[in-house]
């Protein structure tokens, strides 16, 4: 390990870094100082102000530029003679195929989302290149080593489903501030400014549901010639007043709950509209969309302040007005984005007014933005520590020092005196559909389920394939690709709307389907089993995939549910901030009461990667047995702590 002894292995190595964010900046610097001379780095992102507190290779003047390119320039200043090749691109681009990955000795991930991590994992397996994974949130972090056939792959352990909330909690019975945020963002914001064709549960179902919702539909339309202030107040009174009155009429709902209070704009706003106006002039140049702000026009400055109900009402109306006056072209196409100031203001105000109605404490814009945008906590120190640990593992991989590979947890509270806790890597999970050839099994109603359901719910959502190809024997049922001719496209489109048993090559009980992703070079087999009935509550998808363990998802008390989606993504996974993902370290150890109380932050908002340690046994130097709770593993595993 001595600093000079590792040099030959390091100097000749060609490494690929994926991600130039929080961990990426630290990693690139540490690789350069450690003597690495040929580093390739991929990142599709550009630099933002909130990156500057930890992504130390970037300056204010770099805001808006490519992270990968600026990071390269910054590191060359102190190590000018090494080769750094930046790619301002998405790692999922087809340029970065298996052949591209094969040129590297090791791949180092500093990524922010499950989707990209799974993709890189598959390419590394296909190219047979070792992968070092990492993630941080707050003071917690981890580094893991994945070598094909020797250690588990990134997907050997199930990843948790994103947190979702039952529809009725969001629409009718919120009890936490996050419920109000989800309502404001996923329902109200989407209803007013998003795609009008999207299904939306905004209106509560009254006892005579059908008729009132039809009538309510028109409420959200901005009528021609309607004064914009008038429109805003109409929306306000409808969603915070009328809808609550309707909900209150369902006596059954409130038997064991506090009754909400309807709120009308006239309580806070004089009917004379001219007084409440913010000053539009304060918004500066009318064309600069990013500077349009209700807070600015109302003269409110501190995002840490918790606004009164009246202030929230003013922000709500002002933000709504500004959307229509300054950003009208975008209406109908907007999705919530945590970096869209006006959208954050609107959602904060709407969530707070709703919270006030339901007796839930109000929150500041700063806090609301964090919840709505799923912003993950991030500090420089943890990223630096994790980067150091990645390089230590990378050097072991390059020296083929297999017996010393470790996965390391960076903890907030010491566990058996350790803040940095190394653990021997796990063996591959033999039933992992990604790194082993074990077929999966799918229970599905082949007479009712359409190929489209199968593609969306299984192939894309669960298997994480982006360019899938589905085969039944030698017959192609479906594929996605750029090079298809029109006839094939039409055929596949027709197939999508057919139920499985009526496909040109029928899929019935006992059929073995082969699903491939050519880019990921991943192929897996699914054994189809017909099943007539599914439990709507427990099996809302109407299909059950087994052979690989999905993480336990949040218990739903309603067959539908709403996720607090990532700020820029419509995918089911929750977007976390760059490089800020973590698996929960084994935390609940029955034998170690003093640590079992360690407070880990709620990582459920972090996409992907939460581990559930269950029955994991760790052997110490002294053969002291420790048992972890809740590890969702196929077999009990024994780990020798080194």
């Amino acid at each position: 390990m001595a600093s000079l002894k590792h040099l030959p292995a390091v100097k000749g190595a060609k490494v690929l870094m994926v991600g130039a964010g929080g961990i990426g900046c630290e990693l690139l610097k540490t690789l350069a100082l450690s003597g690495f001379q040929d580093i390739h780095i991929i990142d599709m992102d550009t630099i933002e102000v909130s990156n500057l507190n930890r992504q130390f290779l970037f300056r204010q003047s770099h805001v808006g530029q490519s992270k990968a390119k600026v990071a390269r320039e910054a590191v060359l200043k102190f190590r000018p003679h090494i080769s750094i090749t930046p790619y301002h691109a998405n790692v999922k681009d087809s340029d970065f195929n298996v052949d591209f990955f094969k040129q590297f000795n090791v791949v180092l991930n500093g990524l922010d989302n499950l989707d990209a991590r799974r993709h890189v994992n598959r390419l590394c397996l296909a190219a047979d290149v070792p992968l070092i994974e990492s993630g941080t949130t707050g003071f917690l972090g981890q580094v893991t080593v994945h070598v094909k056939g020797r250690t588990e792959c990134y997907e050997c352990q199930p990843k948790p489903a994103p947190k979702t909330y039952p529809v009725c909690t969001i629409t009718s019975t919120p009890s936490k501030f996050v419920h109000c945020i989800v309502w404001a963002k996923e329902l109200l914001f989407a209803k007013l400014f998003g795609d009008k064709n999207q299904a939306n549960d905004l209106n509560v179902r009254s006892s005579d549901g059908a008729s009132s919702s039809k009538q309510a539909e028109d409420v959200f339309e901005h009528r021609k010639d309607e004064d914009i202030e008038q429109y805003g107040r109409r929306i306000y009174d409808h969603v915070f007043g009328y809808n609550i009155e309707v909900a209150l009429s369902n006596e059954e709902t409130w038997k064991n709950r506090n009754r909400p209070k309807p709120i009308y704009s006239s309580e806070f706003m004089p009917n004379d509209l001219s007084q409440q106006n913010g000053s539009m002039e304060k918004n500066g140049a009318a064309n600069d969309i990013s500077s349009v702000s209700a807070m600015a026009s109302l003269g409110m400055k501190n995002p840490q302040d918790v606004w009164s109900l009246k202030e929230n009402s003013r922000v709500f109306l002002e933000a709504l007005k500004l959307f229509f006056l300054k950003r009208e072209k975008e209406i109908g196409n907007l999705t919530f984005d945590k970096d869209d100031q006006l959208a954050v203001e609107f959602v904060t105000a709407a969530a707070n007014i709703r919270a006030a109605s339901f007796g839930i404490p109000l929150h500041s814009l700063f806090e609301a933005k964090g919840i709505a945008g799923n912003i993950v906590h991030a500090v420089a120190t943890t990223n630096a520590i994790i980067a150091g640990l990645i390089v230590i593992e990378a050097i072991k991989v390059l020296k083929n020092d297999t017996k010393n590979y470790r996965m390391t947890y960076c903890l907030e509270h010491p566990t058996r005196k350790m803040l940095l806790m190394p653990v021997e890597p796990f063996e591959p999970n033999r039933s992992c559909y990604v790194c082993s050839e074990t077929p999966l099994s799918l229970e599905i109603n082949t007479h009712h389920a359409k190929l489209r359901d199968f593609v969306e719910k299984i192939v894309k959502a669960m298997l994480g394939m982006s360019l899938p190809l589905i085969m039944h024997g030698s017959a192609l049922l479906y594929e996605i690709g750029d090079d298809l001719d029109e006839e094939m496209v039409a055929n596949y489109a027709a197939n999508l709307d057919k139920v499985l048993s009526e496909l040109p090559t029928p899929v019935t009980s006992g059929t073995m389907l082969t699903i491939e992703d050519l880019q990921q070079e991943l192929s897996c087999q699914i054994n189809i089993k017909h099943r007539e009935e599914f439990d709507e509550e427990k099996e809302p998808d109407g299909m059950v995939l087994s052979g690989w363990t999905q993480a336990p998802s949040v218990v739903k008390d309603d067959k539908e549910s709403i996720a607090n989606a990532g700020s820029t993504s419509n995918e089911p996974s929750v977007e976390a901030e760059k490089n800020d993902e973590i698996e929960i370290p084994p935390e609940k150890k029955r034998k170690l009461s003093e640590i079992s109380e360690a407070v880990y932050p709620d990582l459920s908002s972090v996409d992907g990667d939460t581990r559930n340690p269950d029955k994991l046994q760790v052997l110490d130097d002294d053969d002291e047995l420790m048992i972890f709770d809740n590890w969702d593993s196929v077999t009990d595993k024994k780990i020798r702590m080194q």
Partner: protein, 320 residues
């Protein structure tokens, strides 16, 4: 002082970390003054971390010139000779650090550490000492302790792929979150001298080998009047002999200080680059905890060895 609000600019820049430690802690950070003595790769990492975190000021002391060794693990020194011409090590580091965060005042102080009086140290809230002798460490620690205000004192040393941090927070009051509650806590720390005077046999049976090994090296450099890190493989026999003497005197089984570990520490006295961000990261977190008064600080030694990958806290205060 908590009454003052963060500016809009501060809130935007520190957004992600305020979400970790809160606006109150951020305000305390922005009023803290840090002194760092001895520039190494680990110290460069530490300085980067606290400048990014947004401390009030950072003062650097180190009169050494830029040498190749100083460059080896330090990313604060640009390789451009035109930029470096005529500047000292600390001045170059200062310039780079200023660039990381314009809101932090970074300055250079010249002179000999041991000659600075109590008044000098009283200007700081945190003093971090690296690559200086055993005697100097004790001296500065005592000077800090004599002041009427509490000055947090740290030493940090990296050799080969090993690192050690010592912490003296004297009396430290802080709060921590336990479930929903906020709990007020208090810790008492011994000085560096008090700590290392604790008889080895009084320490727990299972104890970090690095602690003992570092004490042997420290004693060796002291006795032989070497500068920190001024060692080579040729010194190993003498170091091993000293180890035996110390083990006999302290009634410690020699197996607690393996010769292979001593060999690593005398052979490769330079920092192993990937260890710098690890030790500099832990130290940065600890200083942030000490200033903000939030979260359990480590008491009172921390050890990391890349060979086994463990980062361990040891309490050497005589009151385990």
């Amino acid at each position: 002082m908590d009454g003052e609000e963060l500016t809009e600019q501060e809130t935007a820049l520190y957004d992600r970390q305020i979400r970790v430690w809160g606006a109150g802690a951020q305000r305390r950070l922005s009023k803290a003054h840090i002194l760092v003595c001895g520039i190494t790769g680990t110290i460069a990492e530490f300085c980067k971390n606290i400048v990014l975190a947004g401390v009030g000021s950072l003062t650097l002391v180190d009169d050494r010139a830029v040498t190749e060794e100083a460059l080896s693990a330090n990313f604060l020194i640009p390789s451009d000779e035109n930029v470096c011409a005529g500047k000292t090590l600390t001045e170059l580091c200062r310039d780079s650090l200023k660039d990381f965060n314009p809101m932090v005042r970074v300055s250079v102080e010249k002179g000999d550490l041991s000659s600075f009086g109590a008044e000098f140290y009283s200007k700081f809230d945190v003093v971090v000492v690296s690559c200086c002798s055993f005697t100097t460490k004790k001296l500065i620690n005592e000077k800090c302790r004599k002041l009427s205000k509490r000055v947090a004192f740290y030493t940090v040393d990296c050799r080969d792929s090993c690192g050690e941090i010592f912490v003296d927070l004297q009396h430290h009051k802080y709060s921590k979150q336990k479930r929903e509650e906020t709990i007020e806590c208090e810790l008492h720390y011994p000085s560096f001298e008090e700590s290392i005077s604790i008889p080895w046999k009084a320490l727990p049976r299972k104890f970090s080998k690095l602690y003992f090994a570092m004490r042997v090296i420290e004693r060796f450099e002291e006795v032989e009047q070497r500068k920190p890190g001024e060692l080579s493989i040729a010194d190993l026999p003498a170091v091993v002999k000293l180890k035996k003497e110390l083990c006999v005197a302290q009634s410690l089984n020699e197996s607690h200080i393996p010769n292979v570990l001593l060999e690593r520490l005398v052979t490769d006295t330079r920092e192993f680059p990937p260890v710098c961000p690890i030790i500099g990261g832990i130290l940065g977190q600890e200083v942030i905890k000490a200033i903000s008064g939030k979260g359990d600080p480590l008491k009172n030694f921390f050890f990391f060895d890349a060979m086994d990958g463990k980062g361990i806290i040891e309490d050497v205060s005589g009151k385990p």
